[in-house]
């Protein structure tokens, strides 16, 4: 099925995908022990506690929003799409790396993905959940959000299918559903492992129920593998479509800076860029804290860094084309947009964006820094900030000075904007903390297939 580690290592003189010396049994024990036997550390409680408090802050901010309305945010005409849309696009972009790792790298037979796909998929789910909050509360009346779905109703009304905002509803909800399915079916064989290895009655019942009676029959595996490949094949165009549709929210409009054809590919590349940064920011502390360096090796970190370099340059190309079109189009509004980015009131953020997304990440060309976890962690953080700024530049800087000088304005986020944003980071982290505690964060059965003993020798 997958490339075995010895061939890869010898051929490329690289760090192995999994350190030598493991057997089916020790791989199983090492990963399942984290969930089943390892006592919950104080650090986990502290980390989860902080993340949980931030989640509560988010709920408070949303509660106040529901009572007062969107006026508590910094948005107003002309900038009606403030933090809510910036954060929505940022979060949904982060999610893309999970699907890329689990689906696209599976189809490309990149076996190194096997140890990071599980938590990258979990990251996708939680990131999409965090993203989904924003358009919902940005409607101002989240309790009526179901109006977006086409269902027969007494108002004699149907949604407008020519609107990219409605396409977004379908794209994001499909993406969430497929990501959830992908993640859950990937878990089934491992849940069966936990069911069989747990000594706690409740754990046996819960894992057993979720495993649905999986017993590893050859017939089951055969259908399972087919299904998994098909799902990967479906998720691949899906993940590319989701951020494309998100970019349509902008590109279909006529606002200068939004109405460009470069948006879909440049959004998708940016999504993968920020997503891999988040994968690294999670993988680096997780592998250290849980002693998983043998499974999440330097090879994984290096490969992720290389993906970031590649997608970072696609993003840089996008910025270049935007600037070029501002000059080459001869359109006054487009030229002004470029001028405004370089000299306008938000110019600082544009230059910071260039520094974070194009400047600093170039240090990843240096092999020594790609293997230095501390450096990699900080570069990832810088990229995440940069990608957030990119969305800020696109949303706010395009809206604040459009066609008519009389309708220009400024946008300043309020404390409620910040509380909601930081709160979703807390919610995301709280969910990740729970995930690593109660579910196997590395796919056990896929790790088994990487071992040399998994190979069937011809008689």
């Amino acid at each position: 099925m997958a490339e075995r580690m010895d061939e890869v290592t010898v051929a490329n003189k690289q760090a192995p995908v999994i350190e030598p010396g493991y057997t089916f049994g020790t791989v199983t024990d090492k990963i399942s022990t984290i969930v089943l036997n390892r006592p919950t550390s104080t650090g986990w409680f502290v980390g989860f506690g902080v993340a949980f408090m931030l989640t509560m802050m988010m709920l408070f901010a949303i509660g106040y929003l529901v009572v007062k309305g969107t006026g508590i945010w910094g948005i107003n005409i002309p900038i009606g799409w403030g933090f809510a849309i910036v954060n929505f696009v940022w979060w949904i972009g982060i999610g893309h790396a999970g699907t890329l790792i689990s689906a696209i790298l599976l189809l490309l037979r990149q076996s190194w993905r096997n140890s990071i796909n599980r938590f990258a998929e979990a990251m996708t789910l939680f990131a999409v959940a965090a993203a989904g909050i924003f358009p919902l509360i940005h409607t101002g009346r989240p309790w009526l959000a179901y109006w977006l779905f086409p269902y027969p109703n007494t108002m004699n009304y149907w949604p407008q299918f020519r609107s990219p905002l409605l396409w977004d509803v379908f794209a994001v909800s499909t993406y969430f559903t497929i990501s959830l399915l992908f993640w859950f079916v990937g878990l089934i064989p491992d849940l069966a492992t936990l069911r069989d290895r747990s000594e706690n009655r409740w754990a046996q019942m819960i894992y057993g129920t979720l495993a649905m009676g999986w017993r590893g029959s050859a017939r089951h595996w055969h259908r399972y593998e087919t299904m998994y490949l098909l799902l990967a094949g479906l998720a691949t165009p899906l993940v590319l479509s989701v951020h494309t549709v998100v970019s349509f929210d902008f590109a279909i409009a006529i606002v200068p800076g939004w109405h460009t054809t470069i948006f879909p590919p440049y959004f998708v590349a940016g999504a993968i860029y920020s997503g891999f940064a988040m994968v690294l920011m999670l993988a680096i502390p997780i592998r250290t804290l849980y002693g998983l360096q043998d499974f999440i090796t330097d090879r994984h970190l290096q490969n992720s860094a290389k993906v970031m370099l590649a997608t970072g340059w696609i993003v840089a190309y996008g910025y270049g084309i935007e600037a070029f079109m501002g000059w080459y189009s001869g359109n006054r509004n487009d030229s002004f947009l470029l001028w405004n980015r370089l000299h306008g009131p938000y110019a600082f953020f544009y230059f910071l964006l260039l520094l974070c997304n194009i400047g600093i990440p170039q240090v990843l060309w240096i092999r020594k820094l790609r293997t230095n976890t501390v450096a990699l962690f900080f570069v990832s953080l810088v990229i995440l900030v940069g990608m957030w700024l990119e969305r800020f530049v696109i949303v706010v800087m395009s809206l604040h000075r459009d066609f008519l000088n009389s309708s220009w304005g400024m946008y300043y986020p309020t404390r409620w904007d910040w509380m909601t944003y930081i709160g979703t980071i807390g919610m995301f982290l709280a969910a990740m903390f729970l995930f690593v505690r109660i579910l196997p964060m590395i796919s056990i059965f896929e790790m088994r297939t990487l071992l040399p003993e998994a190979e069937v020798k011809p008689e």
């Binding site: 559903t177 079916v185 017993r215 799902l231 899906l238 549709v245």
Partner: protein, 178 residues
């Protein structure tokens, strides 16, 4: 022996290679109602036990077609028949605008059919199964490999099957009560 009904006789092996070899021999010996269990997918195993018919791709295709067709028709009916709204003079049946949702519905239904189809064809969820009665079978989700000959097999005779399985050099042999 005849007092408790027997579901089958199960042999335990140490490695995937042994299991595949044993499954091949069992199938060659004429046993047809057999199954093999492994802690990870072993490509050769399905073929070794004589399993070829896999309907998951067909189910997925049907799901994707249902999703795509119904997605497009839904939009056509809403935008052109039941609730026509003039948006900037565009035709009511403005098909380019309907592509995105059609695509998403294709993927959504294809994916759901693939997963539910796999589970249904595998007969899951099935919380109880006779093989779980064998205590050693708990290792099937860790590092052991099992082969079973079901008592419903035409050639099944308890003594003979046991003898045959023993000739394959297993680690252990157990009877599976049903």
């Amino acid at each position: 022996m005849k007092t408790t009904p027997i579901y089958g006789i199960m042999a335990e092996f140490d490695s995937a290679s042994d299991l595949v070899a044993a499954a091949r021999k069992t199938h060659e010996a004429g046993y047809r109602k057999i199954d093999a269990y492994s802690p990870f997918p072993v490509e050769e195993l399905a073929e070794a036990i004589g399993f070829h018919k896999n309907r998951v791709p067909l189910v997925t295709l049907i799901g994707a077609i249902i999703g795509g067709v119904s997605g497009y028709l839904m939009q056509y009916w809403i935008a052109a028949v039941d609730y026509p709204v003039n948006v900037g003079g565009r035709p009511f049946h403005s098909w380019p605008s309907f592509i995105v949702v059609t695509f998403e519905m294709t993927i959504l239904f294809g994916g759901i059919f693939a997963v539910l189809g796999m589970l249904a064809l595998n007969g899951l969820p099935m919380p109880y199964h006779p093989v779980f009665n064998v205590p050693r079978f708990a290792m099937a989700t860790k590092d052991r490999f099992f082969l079973i000959v079901f008592s419903t097999d035409a050639k099944y005779k308890p003594g003979e099957v046991r003898q045959f399985l023993e000739s394959l050099g297993p680690r252990s042999i157990s009877e599976v009560p049903s």
